[in-house]
Amino acid sequence: MPTEYFLAHVWLIPLFPLAAAAVMLLFGRHLAKAAVNVFCVGGVFLSMVYAFGAILQLLARPVSQRVVEYVLFDWLPAGAMHTTAGQLARFDAPWGYLFDPLTVVMLGVVTGVGFLIHVYSIGYMAHESGYYRFFGYLNLFMFSMLTLVLANNVLEMFVGWEGVGLCSYLLIGFYFHKKSATDAGKKAFIVNRIGDAGFILGVFLMAGTLGTINFTQLWPAILSGNFHHGDAALTAIALLLFVGATGKSAQLPLYVWLPDAMEGPTPVSALIHAATMVTAGVYMVVRTSAIFSMAPLALEVMAGVGAATAIFAASIGVLQTDIKKVLAYSTISQLGYMFLACGVGAFSAGVFHLMTHAFFKGLLFLSAGSVIHAMSGEQDMLKMGGLAKKIPTTYRTMLVATLAIAGIPPLAGFFSKDEILGRAFGVSHLLWLVGLITAGVTAFYMFRLLFLTFYGESRVSPEAEHHLHESPASMTVPLAILALLSIVGGWVGIGGRFEKFLEPVISPPTIGMMAEGPASPPNLSLRHDEVTAPSAPREAEKEAGEAAPESLLMIVSVAAALVGIGLAYFLYLKRTDLPAKIAASAGGLYRLVCEKYYVDQIYDAMFVNRTKDLALALGAFDRIFIDGLFVNGAGRLTRATSVISAWWDKWFVDGLVNLGARIFWLVSYPVRMLQTGRVGSYALLIVLGLLVFIGCYIHAAGFKMEHLWP
């Protein structure tokens, strides 16, 4: 095998699932389940092998050479243009793949977790119809997600971005015979459209302002374009891109689709709506961190939105009773954390949390799926309880994941969450406080979920009790692997190693880095003094973060988590009568949170129903003006004039024709009389004609009777 074989064949990684998806969606109907497994799980396995091969080969390189960019072909060559900054740029969008430390993280998560979830799906979907369809969509999703992750420019990323959106829609609506599922799919798709509109506008503005959309050229373009820190154009781009991120990553105010997306099969919820797709927004923000770093306003907005989403979603999660809905709100809340991290400039902490979150939230969803599988489809936690003894493997993995998300050391969630909180403290104490409270609330509702499901008395219905069984090995083995990752996944971040690892992607390029880059402007070294300018505030933040008493912050955040756990223990195991009483005394507030702050209703009232009204009004306009006045009016007019022309046709044109016919009819009368149609009369005419002919002949020949009788 040639050196760096995998690194040179990065472009193969998305193609394996694409091929499998094509086979499934074209011929899947005729394939046996075993063949579906071979194609789909095999396809993802191959791309995982290639991904990890490439990752290892990249890590084997020295730090300064850890950016590899391949351009497969020119995709959209658009020629030369002037940027709004007045520079001449050659704008084109190649179809290429970028492989750098950030890709390593995302690729590892997507293919690794993706493969485990595919294996898990074999067990989970075993009794479902549409098996091949499910795996076909899942593989199509893997292709789109890998395109998104490996893209070397924003537009190619957008292709993957829309692809995952489509697959998300298809998989949420997988049970298409259920109206709620198809509605949820449509909701997800439409809400995402709003975000995507922002994203594509951001891409346009980026192309117009910077003259490039390639990730590796963002820093050079910004540095050579004389943009100052806080430039309005850059802020606009950053805000527009963030709008796109709020849609895909379910942030306020566009988060409403994610809880509904739980209508899809649970592996889908785990893969798409927890581990990978919803983190695409964070990934995109980190990829374009060059722009965000120059736009402090956008960062502030992002931090604010992230923190608000985190605590808002966490508070809703407290009262949900559907096991998957709790996890959905938890996902929204954790994504809020990631944006909070990015917003305070701690991009690497955001990615770190993204990675650990993919492990433990994927594990949570898969464990919940295992519970649901065991409960024959029951999702209401109030109808569970005491399951720990019945399904011990699932219980153990769920416990690990819950501890991890609660932020208990030394599990994965602790390290990433702690890093985010530490960095937030350095920027704003308010943000830190919100994050801390969210951490406590998260621990509370996650342990509420755990206690309601696995502890206490069994509230399982007799029928479900009868079928209660531990999941097959194809489900428990991925659970165990993810549990392991949820424990050790955070250790890579100890001592800031993770941040250093991502340093080449996030910080402005240094001279050494740029020499490796494929498109380094030759004069960049001259501008090196400018390079440090935009990053100066970030360094200040960093110092502030380090100056904070880090060990104290750590203790406080762990304490918050422990308080949440203790409260959950007290309310849901010790004094199980208390929650109902509190709910009764809280009254209005309880109902407000229970109904998810009426956000869906408000959106319905403000946007959905107004859109419907607009549609009705436009429909009425169409009916009355377009249909009534123009189309039908033209029809009536034509009909009226046609009466005249019909009269003319009937009496004059037709009359002339008929007159001619009538004349010939009259003239032909005597001839017609000859044609009786009877054979006899024709025979008679023949004879007569013959006689006449003979007579004429005889006469003409001057025949005389004497000739006959000489």
Binding site: Q675, G677, R678
Partner: protein, 89 residues
């Protein structure tokens, strides 16, 4: 000549198609006799050869005519020539 005329009159006046066909045979046989008579008068065999051709022809014609008649009868359930009045515009 008399036989020929009987045949012609039969073709023209009779209503039954079978009789008409028989009359046609009469006409043909009249022609045969005529041919043979002239052949004898002229001392040549050409007339007799023609007569044999005509006998063959008459047999074929009778077969075809009766075939048409049977087909016609199946369609219209009649053999009367008067009712064969479809041969007009």
């Amino acid at each position: 000549m008399a036989m020929f005329l009987i045949g012609v009159i039969g073709v023209v006046t009779r209503r039954n198609v079978i009789v008409i066909l028989m009359s046609v045979e009469l006409i043909l046989n009249a022609v045969n006799i005529n041919l043979i008579a002239f052949s004898r008068l002229a001392g040549s065999v050409e007339g007799q050869v023609f007569a044999i051709f005509i006998i063959t022809d008459a047999a074929a014609e009778a077969a075809v005519g009766l075939g048409i008649l049977i087909a016609f009868f199946r369609n219209r359930e009649t053999v009367l020539g008067d009712e064969m009045d479809l041969l007009k515009w």
